[in-house]
Amino acid sequence: MKKVVYFIFLAMISFGTKIYAQETVLEKRTRFFNNYMKEQFPEFKITDGEYFFILPGGCVPCNKAALKILLGNTEEMKKRFQAVLFSQKTLKYLSDTIKTLHSTTLIDTTNKLDRMSFGMFGIGILKIKDQKIIGIKNLTAEDYKQGIIYFLNKEY
């Protein structure tokens, strides 16, 4: 009988391992994102839509130039995105004006955002539906060459 119990126990652990291994990249990033938002912005309710991120890395001159353009279109930003997220550290190296990109700017004072594994770098957009990430895109130098509108309209 003891042997059977041990066997079931081992089988359960193995099964657990298998489930963990089957988590897709998007599911994993969703888990990280939801936990992060709960921890850093507990008051904020995640709704369906797109979230605009300003993170370290990527093509820095492209990011700076793209932000300049977007700062001239804040009404569009407000209409399109649910929120704009960046860290205190980002605010230090970019102008304070990025706070005006959107009426809902979530600033991470702990700078943990810059190290979150959401699959994003530089300027990134997350698309959320039913509390799940369904799309991720990042502004690359190639995108920037084709224009910021191209990037915004580019498929996930």
Binding site: Y6, F9, L10, I13, S14, G16, T17, Y20, R31, F32, F33, N35, Y36, G57, G58, P61, K112, R115, M116, S117, G119, M120, F121, G122, N138, T140, E142
Partner: protein, 382 residues
């Protein structure tokens, strides 16, 4: 409970609950002896430490930004500035002739500005590299740039001109063969107010001309006292040495590298996170330096590290654990020092007293202004 079963359960538990990430500290027996601390009033970035034949000694150069103003700093036998060049903004490329002359090119311009040690523009000239190399390739002087002056006062500049957009070359064998059949380094003559292509130098290792690997295709070069160029490659266990018109190869091996680098198929070249995650699983030769005071070489080895942590954060490549592999003047491995993680492998300088490395903890405590620790290093040729 039978011991065999207990053992099996322990193994299963270890599979389900692996060790925590980010636990990669270096060995406690760190052999380098600190002899001084250098506090700078600014933060250094994109630094290089090279041998400059014109002065027949070591030069450290780097960029810095102070109150949103960019500067290029040139330091002979030191880290503290010999010359400070004030820049108008981000550069596309730069060509440093010596401590008194810098040529700069700003984005979207064919105009090259020659500036002096007072940051005054003393000449302007035009050069269209795209006419020679095509739109996709631009001179890339940020990683590898050397200058040498001949008896007539003409300067020879050596730099990379074959940096392609990897996306266009990665997938096609024909394109790779064509691109990497070009010389690995180019030499340009600068005289009067003109840059002219002089000759190509050396060749890429054959591995570049295959579709297998070389995902990290960026290489690093040093110039030694004999005016040999030494090339190192992230993925290859060998150095290429260009000496007297010939290319030789020398075996290189880090004690931390136990297997060949393999990247997964169909990697998205533009996805920085995918690139970094793949790189975290490899041990690679990141960069190397020639120490002209001691006639020896330091190869920076990036070790493997866990990419993601349990809390959803990731570890950046710049924080990856590392070691310094040391080669003597005959390119023989003489030591490999496991480096502590509070030292920044990108902030590496060579000065007469030893090697100076940026300390991340001390830098943070100094409001982000770089703090370097100077370590005594032995001459392995004695």
């Amino acid at each position: 409970m039978r011991p065999k079963l207990v053992f099996l359960i322990i193994i299963q538990i270890l599979i389900v609950f692996p060790g925590r990430g980010n636990n990669y500290t270096s060995s406690p027996e760190f052999p380098l002896v600190p002899i001084d601390t250098i506090n700078l009033d600014f933060s250094v970035s994109m630094s290089k430490s090279i041998f400059v034949p014109e002065y027949y000694t070591q030069v450290n150069y780097y960029f810095t930004e102070i109150n949103e103003q960019l500067y290029f700093i040139y330091s002979i036998d030191s880290i503290k500035p010999t010359t400070i060049f004030k820049l108008q903004g981000l550069l596309t490329s730069f060509y440093c002739l010596n401590k008194d002359s810098l040529i700069v090119n700003y984005p979207n311009s064919d105009q090259y500005l020659l500036i002096n040690n007072k940051s005054e523009i003393i000449d302007t000239f035009y050069f269209d590299f795209s006419k020679i190399y095509g739109e996709k390739k631009i001179p890339w002087t940020f990683l590898n740039l050397f200058s040498n002056k001949n008896k007539n006062g003409e300067y020879f500049l050596y730099f990379q001109t074959t940096i392609p957009s990897l996306h266009n070359y990665q997938r096609s064998l024909d394109s790779r063969i064509k691109l990497f059949s070009e010389p690995i380094l180019s030499c340009y003559k600068f005289s009067g107010n003109c840059i002219k292509i002089e000759k190509g130098i050396g060749k890429y290792p054959d591995k570049f001309k295959s579709l297998d690997g070389m995902y990290n295709y960026i290489y690093h070069v040093s110039l030694n006292r004999n005016l040999d160029f030494i090339f190192s490659f992230y993925e290859l266990d060998s150095l290429s040495i260009y000496s007297n018109g010939e290319m030789k190869s020398k075996y290189l091996n880090s004690k931390f590298k136990t297997k060949e680098i393999k990247y997964k198929k169909n990697i998205d070249d533009y996805d920085l996170t995918e690139y970094e995650e793949n790189s975290s699983k490899t041990v690679g030769y990141l960069n190397h330096y020639y120490d002209s005071y001691r006639d020896q070489y330091y190869i920076i080895v990036k070790k493997q590290y866990p990419y993601e942590n349990e809390d959803g954060t990731y570890n950046k490549p710049e924080d990856a654990p590392w070691s310094i592999l040391i080669l003597n003047d005959k390119f023989e491995k003489v030591d490999e020092i496991d480096m502590p993680n509070h030292l920044r492998k990108q902030g590496f300088f060579i000065v007469p007293e030893g090697i100076a490395i940026q300390d991340k903890i001390l830098t943070d405590q100094n409001s982000g202004n770089s703090v370097l620790v100077l370590y005594k290093i032995k001459n392995y040729n004695l």
